[in-house]
Protein backbone atom coordinates (compact mmCIF):
# COMPACT_ATOMS: atom_id res chain seq x y z
CA UNK A 1 0.00 0.00 0.00
CA UNK A 2 1.40 3.33 -0.94
CA UNK A 3 1.41 6.38 1.26
CA UNK A 4 -0.59 8.18 -1.41
CA UNK A 5 -3.61 6.17 -0.46
CA UNK A 6 -3.97 8.24 2.69
CA UNK A 7 -4.74 11.20 0.50
CA UNK A 8 -8.13 9.62 -0.05
CA UNK A 9 -10.42 11.53 2.32
CA UNK A 10 -12.37 8.53 3.52
CA UNK A 11 -9.26 6.57 4.38
CA UNK A 12 -7.69 9.62 5.92
CA UNK A 13 -10.67 10.18 8.17
CA UNK A 14 -10.66 6.55 9.28
CA UNK A 15 -6.94 6.27 10.00
CA UNK A 16 -6.58 9.68 11.59
CA UNK A 17 -9.68 9.12 13.68
CA UNK A 18 -8.21 5.91 15.06
CA UNK A 19 -4.78 7.38 15.72
CA UNK A 20 -5.84 10.69 17.19
CA UNK A 21 -6.71 9.68 20.77
CA UNK A 22 -3.34 7.96 21.28
CA UNK A 23 -1.44 10.75 19.64
CA UNK A 24 -3.27 13.31 21.70
CA UNK A 25 -2.41 11.53 24.94
CA UNK A 26 1.24 11.23 23.92
CA UNK A 27 1.36 14.87 22.89
CA UNK A 28 -0.17 16.06 26.13
CA UNK A 29 2.18 13.94 28.23
CA UNK A 30 5.32 14.97 26.37
CA UNK A 31 4.50 18.65 26.01
CA UNK A 32 3.29 19.24 29.53
CA UNK A 33 5.90 16.85 30.94
CA UNK A 34 8.73 18.47 29.05
CA UNK A 35 7.66 21.96 29.99
CA UNK A 36 7.16 21.03 33.64
CA UNK A 37 10.45 19.18 33.80
CA UNK A 38 12.14 22.16 32.22
CA UNK A 39 10.50 24.45 34.71
CA UNK A 40 11.96 22.42 37.56
CA UNK A 41 15.56 22.39 36.28
CA UNK A 42 18.18 24.17 38.40
CA UNK A 43 19.34 27.67 37.62
CA UNK A 44 22.15 28.31 35.23
CA UNK A 45 25.17 30.00 36.84
CA UNK A 46 25.14 32.72 34.22
CA UNK A 47 21.59 33.11 32.97
CA UNK A 48 19.88 32.42 36.26
CA UNK A 49 16.41 31.00 36.14
CA UNK A 50 15.84 32.42 32.66
CA UNK A 51 17.44 29.31 31.24
CA UNK A 52 14.10 27.62 31.83
CA UNK A 53 12.70 29.58 28.91
CA UNK A 54 14.78 27.50 26.54
CA UNK A 55 12.33 24.59 26.90
CA UNK A 56 9.65 26.66 25.24
CA UNK A 57 11.75 28.82 23.03
CA UNK A 58 13.80 26.25 21.20
CA UNK A 59 11.04 23.72 20.42
CA UNK A 60 8.79 26.50 19.23
CA UNK A 61 11.51 28.00 17.04
CA UNK A 62 12.31 24.61 15.63
CA UNK A 63 8.69 23.83 14.85
CA UNK A 64 8.13 27.26 13.33
CA UNK A 65 10.62 26.48 10.61
CA UNK A 66 9.72 22.83 10.22
CA UNK A 67 6.05 23.56 9.79
CA UNK A 68 6.77 25.89 6.92
CA UNK A 69 8.84 23.16 5.29
CA UNK A 70 5.98 20.73 5.80
CA UNK A 71 3.58 23.21 4.20
CA UNK A 72 5.94 23.54 1.25
CA UNK A 73 6.04 19.77 0.81
CA UNK A 74 2.27 19.45 1.11
CA UNK A 75 1.79 22.24 -1.42
CA UNK A 76 4.12 20.52 -3.84
CA UNK A 77 2.24 17.25 -3.43
CA UNK A 78 -0.98 19.09 -4.20
CA UNK A 79 0.40 20.93 -7.19
CA UNK A 80 2.02 17.86 -8.70
CA UNK A 81 -0.14 14.93 -7.64
CA UNK A 82 -3.44 16.76 -7.00
CA UNK A 83 -4.12 15.06 -3.69
CA UNK A 84 -6.84 17.15 -2.13
CA UNK A 85 -6.10 16.16 1.44
CA UNK A 86 -2.55 17.41 1.22
CA UNK A 87 -3.75 20.84 0.14
CA UNK A 88 -6.04 20.91 3.14
CA UNK A 89 -3.19 19.73 5.39
CA UNK A 90 -1.08 22.66 4.23
CA UNK A 91 -3.95 24.98 5.02
CA UNK A 92 -4.41 23.35 8.42
CA UNK A 93 -0.74 23.63 9.33
CA UNK A 94 -0.36 27.35 8.70
CA UNK A 95 -2.09 28.72 11.82
CA UNK A 96 -0.19 26.24 13.98
CA UNK A 97 3.06 27.42 12.42
CA UNK A 98 2.12 31.03 12.98
CA UNK A 99 1.43 30.33 16.65
CA UNK A 100 4.77 28.55 17.01
CA UNK A 101 6.51 31.54 15.44
CA UNK A 102 4.67 33.84 17.81
CA UNK A 103 5.73 31.74 20.80
CA UNK A 104 9.36 31.80 19.67
CA UNK A 105 9.19 35.56 19.16
CA UNK A 106 7.39 36.23 22.43
CA UNK A 107 9.62 34.04 24.59
CA UNK A 108 12.67 35.42 22.82
CA UNK A 109 11.56 38.98 23.42
CA UNK A 110 10.78 38.30 27.06
CA UNK A 111 14.14 36.59 27.42
CA UNK A 112 15.97 39.38 25.68
CA UNK A 113 14.81 41.94 28.23
CA UNK A 114 17.04 40.65 31.10
CA UNK A 115 19.79 39.22 28.87
CA UNK A 116 20.35 41.99 26.38
CA UNK A 117 18.56 44.80 28.11
CA UNK A 118 16.12 45.24 25.25
CA UNK A 119 12.89 43.65 24.16
CA UNK A 120 13.83 43.64 20.56
CA UNK A 121 17.02 43.74 18.59
CA UNK A 122 17.29 43.61 14.81
CA UNK A 123 19.53 40.60 15.07
CA UNK A 124 19.52 38.49 11.89
CA UNK A 125 17.97 35.49 13.54
CA UNK A 126 15.19 37.41 15.21
CA UNK A 127 14.56 39.40 12.06
CA UNK A 128 14.29 36.23 10.01
CA UNK A 129 11.63 35.01 12.38
CA UNK A 130 9.68 38.20 12.04
CA UNK A 131 9.81 37.77 8.27
CA UNK A 132 8.68 34.17 8.61
CA UNK A 133 5.69 35.43 10.58
CA UNK A 134 4.86 37.81 7.76
CA UNK A 135 4.88 34.93 5.29
CA UNK A 136 2.60 32.88 7.50
CA UNK A 137 0.19 35.80 7.78
CA UNK A 138 0.10 36.33 4.03
CA UNK A 139 -0.48 32.65 3.38
CA UNK A 140 -3.33 32.42 5.88
CA UNK A 141 -4.89 35.62 4.60
CA UNK A 142 -4.86 34.35 1.03
CA UNK A 143 -6.55 31.09 1.98
CA UNK A 144 -9.31 32.90 3.78
CA UNK A 145 -9.84 35.44 1.01
CA UNK A 146 -10.57 33.07 -1.87
CA UNK A 147 -13.95 31.41 -1.88
CA UNK A 148 -13.47 28.75 -4.53
CA UNK A 149 -11.48 25.97 -2.84
CA UNK A 150 -9.83 24.72 -6.02
CA UNK A 151 -8.44 28.12 -6.93
CA UNK A 152 -7.49 28.77 -3.33
CA UNK A 153 -5.50 25.57 -3.12
CA UNK A 154 -3.65 26.28 -6.34
CA UNK A 155 -2.93 29.91 -5.60
CA UNK A 156 -1.77 29.36 -2.04
CA UNK A 157 0.40 26.53 -3.32
CA UNK A 158 2.08 28.85 -5.79
CA UNK A 159 2.43 31.49 -3.10
CA UNK A 160 4.03 28.97 -0.74
CA UNK A 161 6.55 28.05 -3.40
CA UNK A 162 7.50 31.60 -4.29
CA UNK A 163 7.35 32.62 -0.63
CA UNK A 164 9.78 29.90 0.38
CA UNK A 165 12.33 31.14 -2.11
CA UNK A 166 11.94 34.67 -0.87
CA UNK A 167 11.99 33.69 2.79
CA UNK A 168 15.34 32.07 2.16
CA UNK A 169 16.53 35.05 0.16
CA UNK A 170 15.41 37.40 2.91
CA UNK A 171 17.43 35.44 5.42
CA UNK A 172 20.62 36.04 3.44
CA UNK A 173 19.71 39.64 2.82
CA UNK A 174 19.15 40.18 6.53
CA UNK A 175 22.50 38.59 7.40
CA UNK A 176 24.15 40.94 4.93
CA UNK A 177 22.20 43.92 6.20
CA UNK A 178 22.96 43.74 9.87
CA UNK A 179 26.52 42.43 9.73
CA UNK A 180 27.26 45.15 7.28
CA UNK A 181 26.73 47.51 10.19
CA UNK A 182 28.48 46.09 13.21
CA UNK A 183 31.03 43.59 12.04
CA UNK A 184 30.80 40.28 13.83
CA UNK A 185 29.02 41.79 16.79
CA UNK A 186 26.08 39.51 16.37
CA UNK A 187 24.14 38.51 19.44
CA UNK A 188 24.38 34.84 18.84
CA UNK A 189 22.75 32.53 21.31
CA UNK A 190 24.48 29.96 23.45
CA UNK A 191 26.04 27.16 21.42
CA UNK A 192 24.47 23.77 21.85
CA UNK A 193 27.46 21.85 23.12
CA UNK A 194 27.67 24.00 26.23
CA UNK A 195 24.34 22.70 27.32
CA UNK A 196 24.66 20.17 30.12
CA UNK A 197 22.60 17.03 30.43
CA UNK A 198 20.43 18.59 33.11
CA UNK A 199 18.98 20.77 30.41
CA UNK A 200 19.38 18.51 27.44
CA UNK A 201 16.95 15.73 28.35
CA UNK A 202 13.97 17.91 29.29
CA UNK A 203 14.65 19.83 26.11
CA UNK A 204 14.45 16.66 24.05
CA UNK A 205 11.18 15.68 25.73
CA UNK A 206 9.77 19.11 25.14
CA UNK A 207 10.84 19.08 21.50
CA UNK A 208 9.18 15.72 21.00
CA UNK A 209 6.10 17.08 22.74
CA UNK A 210 5.86 20.07 20.42
CA UNK A 211 6.27 17.81 17.43
CA UNK A 212 3.49 15.50 18.60
CA UNK A 213 1.31 18.46 19.47
CA UNK A 214 1.77 19.77 15.97
CA UNK A 215 0.84 16.41 14.49
CA UNK A 216 -2.32 16.24 16.57
CA UNK A 217 -3.31 19.78 15.69
CA UNK A 218 -2.70 19.28 12.00
CA UNK A 219 -4.73 16.09 11.96
CA UNK A 220 -7.61 17.68 13.84
CA UNK A 221 -7.58 20.76 11.67
CA UNK A 222 -7.36 18.74 8.48
CA UNK A 223 -10.34 16.73 9.63
CA UNK A 224 -12.19 19.97 10.25
CA UNK A 225 -11.39 21.14 6.75
CA UNK A 226 -12.48 17.85 5.24
CA UNK A 227 -15.80 18.04 7.04
CA UNK A 228 -16.34 21.60 5.92
CA UNK A 229 -15.53 20.68 2.35
CA UNK A 230 -17.86 17.74 2.52
CA UNK A 231 -20.71 19.87 3.80
CA UNK A 232 -20.08 22.46 1.11
CA UNK A 233 -19.88 19.75 -1.53
CA UNK A 234 -23.17 18.18 -0.47
CA UNK A 235 -24.87 21.55 -0.47
CA UNK A 236 -23.47 22.43 -3.87
CA UNK A 237 -24.66 19.13 -5.30
CA UNK A 238 -28.14 19.61 -3.88
CA UNK A 239 -28.22 23.08 -5.37
CA UNK A 240 -27.23 21.80 -8.79
CA UNK A 241 -29.76 18.97 -8.84
Amino acid sequence: MSIWEYANPVKFMRVSGAALPWLAIAAAVCTLGGIAWGFLTPEDYKQGSTVKIVFLHVPAAMMAINIWVMMLIASLIWLIRRHHVSALAAKAAAPVGAVMTLIALATGAIWGQPMWGTWWEWDPRLTSFLILLLFYIGYIALWSAIEDPDSAADLTGVLCLVGSVFALLSRYAVLFWNQGLHQGASLSVAPGERMSEVYRYPLYVSMLGFLLLFLVLVLVRTRTEIRRRRLAALQAREMRA
Binding site: P9, D148, P149, D150, R229, A232, A233, A236, R237, R240
Partner: protein
Protein backbone atom coordinates in the same frame (compact mmCIF):
# COMPACT_ATOMS: atom_id res chain seq x y z
CA UNK B 1 -12.02 17.99 -42.81
CA UNK B 2 -13.26 18.63 -39.34
CA UNK B 3 -12.17 21.77 -37.55
CA UNK B 4 -13.24 20.58 -34.14
CA UNK B 5 -13.99 17.14 -32.77
CA UNK B 6 -15.22 16.69 -29.23
CA UNK B 7 -15.30 13.18 -27.81
CA UNK B 8 -17.15 12.24 -24.66
CA UNK B 9 -16.37 15.55 -23.02
CA UNK B 10 -17.09 16.28 -19.36
CA UNK B 11 -16.67 19.79 -18.03
CA UNK B 12 -16.86 21.06 -14.47
CA UNK B 13 -17.65 24.38 -12.88
CA UNK B 14 -17.25 25.14 -9.21
CA UNK B 15 -15.65 21.75 -8.64
CA UNK B 16 -18.67 19.79 -9.90
CA UNK B 17 -19.29 18.30 -13.31
CA UNK B 18 -21.89 20.26 -15.28
CA UNK B 19 -22.35 18.19 -18.45
CA UNK B 20 -20.69 14.93 -19.40
CA UNK B 21 -20.55 12.59 -22.37
CA UNK B 22 -20.86 15.36 -24.94
CA UNK B 23 -19.57 14.46 -28.41
CA UNK B 24 -19.83 16.35 -31.68
CA UNK B 25 -17.75 17.37 -34.65
CA UNK B 26 -17.76 20.60 -36.50
CA UNK B 27 -16.57 20.75 -40.09
CA UNK B 28 -15.55 23.75 -42.11
CA UNK B 29 -18.66 25.64 -43.22
CA UNK B 30 -20.78 24.37 -40.36
CA UNK B 31 -22.42 26.12 -37.44
CA UNK B 32 -23.53 24.41 -34.23
CA UNK B 33 -25.81 26.03 -31.69
CA UNK B 34 -25.79 24.83 -28.08
CA UNK B 35 -29.03 25.11 -26.20
CA UNK B 36 -30.19 24.23 -22.73
CA UNK B 37 -31.63 25.76 -19.58
CA UNK B 38 -29.76 28.28 -17.45
CA UNK B 39 -26.86 26.78 -15.62
CA UNK B 40 -26.62 23.57 -17.64
CA UNK B 41 -23.02 24.37 -18.56
CA UNK B 42 -23.02 26.02 -21.98
CA UNK B 43 -20.60 28.74 -21.01
CA UNK B 44 -18.35 26.24 -19.28
CA UNK B 45 -18.23 24.00 -22.33
CA UNK B 46 -17.37 26.89 -24.60
CA UNK B 47 -14.56 28.00 -22.31
CA UNK B 48 -13.16 24.50 -22.39
CA UNK B 49 -13.16 24.48 -26.16
CA UNK B 50 -11.49 27.89 -26.16
CA UNK B 51 -8.76 26.48 -23.94
CA UNK B 52 -9.55 28.69 -20.97
CA UNK B 53 -10.17 25.78 -18.69
CA UNK B 54 -9.34 22.12 -18.72
CA UNK B 55 -11.81 19.38 -19.50
CA UNK B 56 -12.39 16.91 -16.69
CA UNK B 57 -12.74 14.03 -19.06
CA UNK B 58 -12.84 13.30 -22.76
CA UNK B 59 -10.92 14.81 -25.66
CA UNK B 60 -11.05 17.97 -27.71
CA UNK B 61 -9.34 17.69 -31.08
CA UNK B 62 -8.50 20.72 -33.09
CA UNK B 63 -5.60 22.55 -34.66
CA UNK B 64 -3.66 24.79 -32.35
CA UNK B 65 -4.55 28.48 -32.36
CA UNK B 66 -7.70 28.02 -34.36
CA UNK B 67 -10.22 29.46 -31.90
CA UNK B 68 -11.54 32.97 -31.57
CA UNK B 69 -13.60 33.31 -28.39
CA UNK B 70 -16.18 35.98 -27.61
CA UNK B 71 -18.31 36.20 -24.50
CA UNK B 72 -20.43 38.79 -22.73
CA UNK B 73 -17.41 40.92 -21.90
CA UNK B 74 -16.10 42.24 -25.16
CA UNK B 75 -12.58 43.08 -24.07
CA UNK B 76 -13.00 46.68 -25.14
CA UNK B 77 -11.12 49.54 -23.55
CA UNK B 78 -13.35 52.51 -22.89
CA UNK B 79 -10.48 54.97 -23.28
CA UNK B 80 -9.44 53.77 -26.74
CA UNK B 81 -11.25 54.60 -29.96
CA UNK B 82 -13.09 52.00 -32.01
CA UNK B 83 -10.24 51.74 -34.52
CA UNK B 84 -7.61 51.54 -31.82
CA UNK B 85 -9.46 48.76 -30.06
CA UNK B 86 -9.79 46.80 -33.26
CA UNK B 87 -6.26 47.43 -34.44
CA UNK B 88 -4.92 46.20 -31.11
CA UNK B 89 -6.63 42.84 -31.42
CA UNK B 90 -5.64 42.59 -35.07
CA UNK B 91 -2.00 43.03 -34.11
CA UNK B 92 -2.21 40.61 -31.21
CA UNK B 93 -3.72 37.91 -33.40
CA UNK B 94 -1.36 38.76 -36.23
CA UNK B 95 -3.26 40.07 -39.20
CA UNK B 96 -6.83 40.81 -40.13
CA UNK B 97 -8.15 43.75 -42.06
CA UNK B 98 -9.45 46.42 -39.70
CA UNK B 99 -11.18 48.55 -42.36
CA UNK B 100 -13.07 45.60 -43.74
CA UNK B 101 -14.28 44.59 -40.27
CA UNK B 102 -15.45 48.13 -39.56
CA UNK B 103 -17.43 48.19 -42.78
CA UNK B 104 -18.94 44.76 -42.21
CA UNK B 105 -20.35 45.74 -38.84
CA UNK B 106 -21.34 49.26 -39.99
CA UNK B 107 -18.96 50.95 -37.61
CA UNK B 108 -17.12 53.19 -40.06
CA UNK B 109 -19.00 56.28 -38.93
CA UNK B 110 -17.98 55.59 -35.35
CA UNK B 111 -14.34 54.73 -36.11
CA UNK B 112 -12.86 57.61 -34.11
CA UNK B 113 -15.29 57.52 -31.18
CA UNK B 114 -13.85 56.32 -27.87
CA UNK B 115 -15.49 53.04 -26.96
CA UNK B 116 -16.85 54.65 -23.79
CA UNK B 117 -19.27 56.68 -25.92
CA UNK B 118 -20.88 53.68 -27.61
CA UNK B 119 -24.29 52.33 -26.72
CA UNK B 120 -24.59 48.76 -25.55
CA UNK B 121 -25.57 47.51 -28.98
CA UNK B 122 -22.75 49.37 -30.71
CA UNK B 123 -20.28 47.92 -28.26
CA UNK B 124 -21.56 44.49 -29.06
CA UNK B 125 -21.09 45.11 -32.77
CA UNK B 126 -17.53 46.18 -32.14
CA UNK B 127 -16.99 42.99 -30.17
CA UNK B 128 -18.18 40.97 -33.17
CA UNK B 129 -16.00 42.96 -35.54
CA UNK B 130 -13.10 41.79 -33.38
CA UNK B 131 -13.82 38.22 -34.45
CA UNK B 132 -13.16 39.11 -38.07
CA UNK B 133 -9.75 40.58 -37.41
CA UNK B 134 -8.53 37.53 -35.53
CA UNK B 135 -8.42 35.57 -38.76
CA UNK B 136 -9.23 32.38 -36.86
CA UNK B 137 -11.37 29.72 -38.51
CA UNK B 138 -13.34 28.54 -35.47
CA UNK B 139 -15.55 31.09 -33.76
CA UNK B 140 -16.72 30.22 -30.26
CA UNK B 141 -19.50 32.59 -29.29
CA UNK B 142 -21.30 32.82 -25.96
CA UNK B 143 -24.70 34.50 -26.33
CA UNK B 144 -23.47 36.70 -29.17
CA UNK B 145 -26.64 38.68 -29.71
CA UNK B 146 -27.31 39.91 -26.20
CA UNK B 147 -28.52 43.53 -26.34
CA UNK B 148 -28.57 43.67 -30.15
CA UNK B 149 -31.65 45.05 -31.87
CA UNK B 150 -33.31 43.19 -34.74
CA UNK B 151 -31.36 44.84 -37.56
CA UNK B 152 -28.05 44.06 -35.90
CA UNK B 153 -29.04 40.45 -35.31
CA UNK B 154 -29.58 40.10 -39.06
CA UNK B 155 -26.27 41.73 -39.75
CA UNK B 156 -24.69 39.28 -37.34
CA UNK B 157 -26.29 36.34 -39.11
CA UNK B 158 -24.93 37.59 -42.40
CA UNK B 159 -21.49 37.91 -40.85
CA UNK B 160 -21.56 34.33 -39.61
CA UNK B 161 -22.79 33.09 -42.99
CA UNK B 162 -19.92 34.84 -44.73
CA UNK B 163 -17.52 33.28 -42.29
CA UNK B 164 -18.94 29.82 -42.92
CA UNK B 165 -18.84 30.35 -46.65
CA UNK B 166 -15.17 31.25 -46.31
CA UNK B 167 -14.40 27.86 -44.80
CA UNK B 168 -14.85 28.80 -41.16
CA UNK B 169 -17.03 27.26 -38.50
CA UNK B 170 -18.97 28.60 -35.52
CA UNK B 171 -19.96 27.13 -32.18
CA UNK B 172 -22.53 29.23 -30.36
CA UNK B 173 -24.53 29.15 -27.16
CA UNK B 174 -27.76 31.09 -27.12
CA UNK B 175 -31.27 31.22 -25.72
CA UNK B 176 -32.86 33.10 -28.58
CA UNK B 177 -33.28 32.65 -32.30
CA UNK B 178 -30.25 33.77 -34.28
CA UNK B 179 -31.87 33.60 -37.69
CA UNK B 180 -29.38 30.96 -38.79
CA UNK B 181 -31.73 28.30 -40.10
CA UNK B 182 -28.95 26.16 -41.50
CA UNK B 183 -27.17 25.73 -38.19
CA UNK B 184 -27.35 22.41 -36.36
CA UNK B 185 -28.70 22.54 -32.82
CA UNK B 186 -27.40 20.51 -29.89
CA UNK B 187 -29.53 20.51 -26.77
CA UNK B 188 -27.33 19.86 -23.73
CA UNK B 189 -30.18 18.87 -21.40
CA UNK B 190 -29.70 15.10 -21.84
CA UNK B 191 -26.02 15.43 -20.99
CA UNK B 192 -26.53 16.93 -17.57
CA UNK B 193 -24.01 15.26 -15.27
CA UNK B 194 -25.45 12.61 -13.00
CA UNK B 195 -24.98 13.37 -9.34
CA UNK B 196 -22.95 10.96 -7.27
CA UNK B 197 -19.27 10.32 -7.19
CA UNK B 198 -18.15 9.64 -10.73
CA UNK B 199 -15.38 7.18 -11.45
CA UNK B 200 -11.94 8.53 -12.19
CA UNK B 201 -10.32 11.73 -11.08
CA UNK B 202 -12.61 14.12 -9.16
CA UNK B 203 -13.28 17.41 -10.93
CA UNK B 204 -12.44 19.46 -7.87
CA UNK B 205 -12.84 19.75 -4.14
CA UNK B 206 -16.60 19.62 -4.28
CA UNK B 207 -16.55 16.32 -6.10
CA UNK B 208 -13.64 14.89 -4.15
CA UNK B 209 -15.48 15.26 -0.86
CA UNK B 210 -19.06 14.69 -1.92
Amino acid sequence: MSLLAVHDLAVARGGIRAVEGVSFTLDAGEALILRGPNGIGKTTLLRCVAGLQLAVDGRIEMAEDSVAYAAHADGLKAALTVTENLRFWAQIFGGGNVEQALTAMDLTALADRPAAALSAGQKRRLGLARLMVTGRPLWVLDEPTVSLDAASVERFAALVRAHLAGGGAALMATHIDLGLGEARVLDLTPYRARPGRPPGRPAGFNEAFA
